[in-house]
Amino acid sequence: MDRADLPALALHFALLSLMAIGGVSAILPDMQRYVVEVNRWLSGTQFADIYAIGQAAPGPNMMFVTLLGWQLSGWAGAIVATLAIILPPIMLTLAVTHLHANNPDAPLGRAIRSGLGPIAIGLTLASGCILAQSADQSWRTALLTALTIALMLRTKLNPIWLIAAGAVAGICGIL
């Protein structure tokens, strides 16, 4: 295991956390770029594994950063990565709760929401593409990704069953 540069990681994740409009999946591509491509602390497959395990565990989706930090630098990495991702948005939320709570429909608020919404969606789709690139090594896994998309769009199935089905398909050697 490589020893990650924790102060640099903390600063980078803290900056990213303030861009996570619509959730952590918006900043996933840049986390992957930073950890895998720029610093080579993990391989693309390891990153995709960690994200998948994070999705399978209970709790908010963002908690996969704990696992990411743990994988990079043990307990210290887990604590630093988690705090860097959660603290800046919380501070901002508390500040804005004071200022904004009385008129959430103010024109500027609406313009910001409506302007940033499409960017958040573009970033989320970019995350999906990057994860698929790492995860889909064969036409069978690509088909599994496509099947997941279809089921998610057509049904109200809890995603955990799909992840479990993916694990079973993998173990049975279908992939």
């Binding site: 990213l16 996570a20 409009i21 619509g22 999946s25 770029r33 594994d49 994070g54 565990a57 209970p58 709790g59 908010p60 989706n61 908690m63 696992l67 994988q71 887990a78 959660i86 800046p88 948005p89 919380i90 939320t93 508390l94 804005v96 709760t97 904004h100 709570a101 024109p107 313009a111 910001i112 302007g115 919404g117 499409p118 960017i119 969606i121 573009g122 989320t124 789709l125 970019a126 999906g128 990057i130 994860l131 995860a135 896994t141 599994l144 997941t148 998309i149 998610m152 769009l153 809890n158 995603p159 069953w161 799909l162 992840i163 089905a165 993916g166 694990a167 079973v168 993998g170 050697g173």
Partner: protein, 196 residues
């Protein structure tokens, strides 16, 4: 807002203050721990079930308003909601308690998962399971993005900014800070111009 304005006809803060239940930090911590640990595959449905249906701490309308605020702010929606709800019932201690409940249990579970991954992640069977799980996880993220496009207006403006951010970050692999920093002012200005 000037004090001479009448309160909004839909329940404003001052109007619902008398009926706001008193909920302490410990109760908030326990409730959010419970809903976080029930939340396989997403916590939001469990938050709704616990806070609105079972405990009745929030009305339907309050839950939706809090969610909308949480989505506007950066960071995980559910985390922002925990802070806002905790703060409303018990001030800063409540916000801290609700958030600690939300992340405490999952944090320990992730550490346990990390230990397992480090020790057994290289086993062929585990690798096979993970390859299936990560193919599904990629599909889940793509499906979430596609579902969200249903909320977009049918004109060029949102789709242009969606395409630019997808291309910049997904295809060109430019740094997110540069892409969002460059696009956000234009995106907000375009949305503002559309409104007026």
């Amino acid at each position: 807002m000037s004090s001479s304005h009448p309160p909004n006809e839909n329940d404003s803060d001052s109007a619902r203050d008398p009926v706001t239940p008193r909920i302490g930090p410990l109760e908030l911590f326990l409730a959010f721990s419970q809903l976080a640990l029930s939340g396989f595959g997403g916590v939001l449905p469990w938050a709704h079930r616990t806070l609105v249906e079972r405990k009745g701490w929030l009305t339907q309308r309050e839950f939706v308003d809090t969610l909308a605020m949480g989505q506007l702010l950066p960071g995980p929606n559910i985390g922002n909601m925990a802070v806002m709800i905790g703060y409303r019932f018990a001030g800063y201690a409540g916000a801290a308690a609700a958030f600690a409940g939300l992340v405490g249990g999952p944090f320990l579970i992730m550490i346990a998962a990390g230990i397992l991954y480090r020790n057994y992640g290289a086993l062929p069977l585990v690798q096979q399971a993970l390859s299936g799980m990560s193919a599904v996880a990629a599909g889940l993220v793509l499906a979430t993005g596609l579902k969200m496009t249903a909320s977009l207006k049918r004109n060029w403006r949102p789709w242009l900014f969606l395409a630019l951010s997808l291309a910049g970050v997904g295809a060109l692999r430019w740094p997110l800070l540069a892409v969002v920093g460059g696009l956000a002012p234009f995106a907000i200005a375009a949305a503002w111009g559309e409104k007026n």
